[in-house]
């Protein structure tokens, strides 16, 4: 039934800070090409888990692989092979659009020729060719987010991590941003996304919900709604998150 390979495999992953267990023996897989929603209340351990998956933090015990690279041993290879975008940090405001593209292309060791080609194609796809000499800080938030997403994929990663990519964005732009996510997923890129908008949870192929450091449940949105007899994902989320004990 599962003909696609798993791009993320996590096994009993645990992270402790002193005597506080932020992530408590979580295990799950993310399939190649799926949109995977990683949800949880504030303080449930999402950010900690995501940092480990991006090669920015080491597990205390347990482990796993991202794109075949080991979370404990191959951190540098993981960083090189994934895309990452967050709402808080993504682009340099005081650099121009094309300068940002060149910077990130260089960081991912693309050749000058390849950066030029990618840059042209990206700006055409985003309808931003006329804006390439603008400072990123002067762009409307929606454009910035779209550009940041495309730049996060400049090195053709097989998986891209999106950390609350649409926070504070206006409703239409938020949906146009999801069009980009769908397009990327259709072309085979795996999307790992966190969000506080529960309607966006419905757009995911599968969703996991973390509560107090463990994965309280994981399934397709339709299956979760049926299991919790809920009309929408917001209700599912609340039912699970209200069980949280730790503050």
């Amino acid at each position: 039934m599962n003909e696609k390979k798993d791009i993320i495999v996590v096994n009993e992953l645990t992270k402790k800070f002193g005597n506080f267990t932020a992530v408590d023996h979580i295990s799950f897989e993310v399939r190649q090409g799926e949109i995977f929603g990683f949800l949880g209340a504030n303080g449930a351990g999402k950010t900690t888990a995501m940092k480990i998956l991006c090669g920015l933090s080491l597990p205390t015990s347990g482990g796993g692989t991202v794109n075949g690279y080991d979370l404990s041993r191959d951190q540098e290879k993981i960083k090189r092979n994934i895309g990452y975008m967050s709402q808080k940090f993504s682009l340099y405001s005081d650099l121009k659009v094309w300068e940002n593209i060149r910077l990130f292309g260089g960081i991912y060791r693309l050749s000058g020729k390849s950066i030029k080609e990618k840059s042209d194609a990206m700006l055409r796809y985003l309808n931003m060719t006329d804006l390439k000499d603008e400072l990123v800080g002067d762009l409307p938030l929606g454009w910035k987010q779209k550009l940041a997403f495309s730049i996060a994929m400049i090195h053709n990663p097989s998986i891209v991590f999106l950390d609350e990519p649409t926070g504070g964005v206006d409703p239409e732009t938020r949906r146009l941003f999801w069009d980009l996510i769908y397009e990327a997923a259709e072309s085979g890129t795996t999307i790992f996304v966190t969000t506080h908008y529960m309607d966006e949870a419905e757009y995911c192929d599968r969703v996991s919900i973390m509560v107090d450091g463990v994965i309280a449940d994981l399934d397709a949105p339709a299956a979760l709604k049926q299991r919790y007899q809920a009309a929408d994902m917001d209700t599912v989320f609340r039912q699970l998150a209200y069980q949280a004990k730790r503050e």
Binding site: G40, A41, N42, V169, P171, H196, P221, D232, F237, E247
Partner: protein, 308 residues
Amino acid sequence: MIEAIKVENVSKHYGACVALDHISLGVQPGEIYGLIGPDGAGKTTLFRILVTLLLPDNGKALVEGLDVARDYMAIRRNIGYMPGRFSLYQDLTVAENLDFFATMFGTSVAENYQNIKEIYAQIEPFRDRRAGQLSGGMKQKLALCCALVHRPSVLFLDEPTTGVDAVSRKDFWNMLYRIRKAGVTILVSTPYMDEASLCDRISLIQKGRIIKTGTPEEIVAQYPHRLFGVSGNPAYPLLKFLRRSPNVLRCFSFGSEHHVAVSPGQTGREDLLKQIQDAGFRNVTVREINPNIEDCFMELAKEEGQKS
């Protein structure tokens, strides 16, 4: 009765950037008034003007009849303000923060304990913990206590729930209802459209302009199109198909459904269903639905864009 907040024709520029463009609104005493709009709409600028931290370029703003430019000292004594980012001293404890804010307003925690009791009780077990060590939800509760400790009559909350999860947001709104019960007027801003329906009245704001004001029910009732909730597989190709369809005015995803706007009298439910099924989509359902605030916001933002 004097309006709790009155804004008349207020504009504010930062260099060439127009942050507020002739804004007017009025807030009645004792209501929860929502300022709903995305980042960069001008919400924080309007808050700063109302709490007397920034002067408008032109127009007039009054808080309980007092002028923000002339009577700023009197206004500051009567209001509570919870800014979007910084409002607590990270290296002071919970109790110290609260004491500090009480003292600043010439009062004491003991004197006003009743006023904050319900919220403070939830964080009192952590009274000796530094604010910087609190979780997001607890920080938010402490900030709210600090803004309430001097018994303000008007409370300004600038994006109190941004980045806060769905459960904590719900709790926070329940606290706001209790505060309203005590007679406090609340102006609250949020980028989350679903919070609009929790307010008594709202203004939708985008690019420095108010594009609509009213009760959430009034705004929803004025939505000009017929709206259908459509689901089917595969979902994303269905979205693209609907957008290309000649009778469809707008189509956006809303969770598990696409919201499809058509002109009243143009396309019925049966037509739409047949069209979609004929195109080969599976598990298709089409139902007529009422718009929500987010539908209205997108519609109004579009109209506003066509005007300018």
